[in-house]
Symmetry: C2
Subunit: 412 residues, 2 copies
């Protein structure tokens, strides 16, 4: 098959129904930003919204804004808006705390529902904090253990015995971009008597899903990747209504109390998903998230998914044709691929640095992964073509061998 | 003694060394804001700083700002700045998560250091979330229990037996404003073999203290009251260097890992106080806090304390003279009083509403407390005089009996 030319992909941009959405974002001139799966760019609506929050709500409204500006309910109102992207009816998601902290809550809540079982099942390829939080949860649950399966093998069926209380999995793998079948795995886990906790960090906002219809038990995810909430914006946590009477988690702070301003001495969990709240939440970061979510107004997730598969597929096609020294570490089947592409090269760090120097921003994940995210709201087909073209040139010219690209200094 | 006249207190403002600091804050015209102990006002430096964070760091710097704009280290750099107000050398405080979550970490870390003991000692008059978080911690520690003492009686000595692992107390009581002797109680707890966790929410930034010199074990506090960080700005947690090798807490997320970007499968705690970090932090809220802390530049906490005692003392004096129907629920001895004054009245809610309608903002704490905070950086002596004068008038005219002031609607 003929490799697409630049003018071929320019035509794709002209017929892209999502093309106008790019204007909703601030994107630096001359940069191709393929790291929105790590930190989404700023929506253009954010500065004005923040100014209102600062000057009208905080500076002028002061304490009254907890009611009058809706601060107190932001955890719920933001959760409801995100729920629309996840197939969750309102009142089942709160935005609060970090993903790591929400994993802790969800795992505790799930374990509490299976007191006769003692295993948390996950996979070794999880984003590490998922495994670290399992360790933290296990400290509090003597006799419990973590079992790691390899999803590249048919490992789940064998592992799902009657000791498994909860299965914690990432919907999209943070490195490879592999997409797990949430519906099928949830059903399988339930048939084995286990609960599921889904980590949606790398799928929320870019993969269509139906948390309610698929009978998911708990889910958590971050809001600063495809949801563009801003650096470190708070995480979300989901629990369906059918579990709301049973939520029991140890971060039992006053925001999750049934009557937070009654100042009772004893804890009584709030009804509903508010039982997952703990302490005061960073309203300024939540205000930015509220504005950023407006970038999804009028957008169909099905359109996002279609374009996402085309963008990632195009990148893989171009790399495979023009960059023979790179391994493709993501699924080649677009049906089981998230919105990112991982390439493998032993000098991956230097290659990423050389690309960044040319204004093409991806990131490196040890030991050898070059990772590129393709956010359909603002990435064009021509960006994909240019990125692949530049990457091929960097490899052909060995530009990445320059000493300035070898020094490891980044934390991210 | 003669009750001070308005012109008497105007003279106090003219000679107040902190008077110029008021200009550092945005304060609504015509409002006397006596609720900075709940939500501090916005420093005038915040909007410009936020604009820089949004447009230069996030929108333009994007992912590189984790390094280049110092986002990754904000938890530490903000902690160091706050440490200067608390008598803590650098590298011993991180800003992260909510106070409730940090209480959870600190209590776990303290319990882990006393495996042979099983009691958390606190007081019933604590801010409720402190007690709720104790409940959460106890869930994970079978056999442990909470014991509540009454500090209005000489309860601590009797209660400090050899089963007490950790004492959790508020330095300043959130309702009464009573100030506990941190140094003496810490010494007494240590003599009994217990550790201390201090809740500094109502004292940080307004009460001079020496966490290092007083041998405090752990401390937590919020940054949105006297530190003016903005609604829900993240909390801080302190641990002294002598305990850094021993920090063990179950919220073992990747930000607290020794090598967060090595993506190791197993958790290894970071050295130092970073072991208290868990997940990604809300950078925009932290940026506002960073700007707000500039309001403390060049300010001596001793001057703040002197003025604080004078402001609260003046308010008590005026209320006692002119509002005989109000009880004084705060200590009359300025040495053992924080920077707030609690008054008691069975119709406290309506009285507070009537005051707010006149532009004097305090808050109500059930069942009967009218609570007023006096932040010396921006409250003038004449504000105190006017607030007391208006309060007396509201009581004398029975204005608070108007139906519009009776309806309970606030969440805060």
């Amino acid at each position: 098959m003929k490799i697409p030319s630049r003018s071929d992909v320019e035509a794709l941009d002209r017929s892209d129904p999502l093309a106008p959405m790019r204007g909703r974002f601030h994107l630096p001139e001359g940069m191709i930003y393929l790291d929105g799966n790590s930190l989404g760019p700023m929506a253009r609506s954010v500065p004005a919204a923040m100014d209102t929050t600062l000057r009208e709500e905080w500076a002028t409204g002061l304490i009254s804004s907890w009611n009058n500006a809706g601060w107190w309910d932001l955890a719920i109102t933001l959760g409801d808006r995100i729920g629309q992207l996840l197939g969750a009816q309102s009142g089942q998601i709160v935005v609060s705390d970090s993903t790591s902290v929400n994993l802790y809550k969800a795992l505790h809540a799930a374990l509490a529902l299976r007191p006769d079982r003692n295993v948390i099942l996950s996979e070794a390829e999880s984003f590490p904090t998922d495994l670290y939080m399992i360790e933290g949860v296990l400290q509090a649950c003597p006799g419990s253990e973590c079992r790691l399966v390899d999803f590249s093998e048919p490992g789940l069926n064998d592992a799902l015995d009657d000791q498994v209380a909860v299965v914690l999995l990432s919907n999209v793998n943070y490195r490879s971009g592999a997409l797990l079948d949430m519906q099928a795995i949830t059903r399988k886990a339930h048939e084995a008597g286990a609960l599921v906790v889904w980590d949606l960090c790398h799928s929320a906002g870019v993969i269509p899903m139906e948390l309610d219809a698929w009978d998911v038990d708990f889910a958590v995810g971050c809001t600063y990747k495809y949801l563009n909430g801003g650096p470190g914006s708070p995480s979300f946590i989901y629990a369906p209504k059918r579990l709301h009477d049973t939520i029991k988690q140890p971060l039992s702070g006053w925001w999750g109390h049934a009557a937070p301003f009654a100042f009772e001495t004893g804890y009584r969990a709030a009804s509903g998903v508010r039982a997952f709240l703990c302490g005061s939440q960073p309203i300024l970061s939540m205000a930015a998230l509220a504005a950023a979510l407006g970038a999804y107004d009028g957008v169909e997730l099905a359109d996002i998914r279609t374009k996402s598969q085309e963008l990632t597929g195009l990148f893989i096609e171009l790399v495979a044709a023009n960059c023979p020294s790179l391994g493709i570490a993501s699924p080649c089947d677009g049906q089981v691929r998230g919105s990112q592409v991982a390439l493998a090269h032993e000098n991956g760090y230097a290659i990423i640095q050389a690309m960044i120097a040319r204004g093409i921003v991806g990131d490196f994940r040890a030991p050898d992964i070059l990772r590129f995210g393709f956010a359909p709201l603002y990435i064009r087909y021509v960006d994909v073509w240019d990125a692949a073209d530049q990457l091929a040139d960097i490899l052909n010219t060995h530009e990445w061998r320059e000493p300035r690209f070898q020094v490891r200094s980044e934390v991210t």
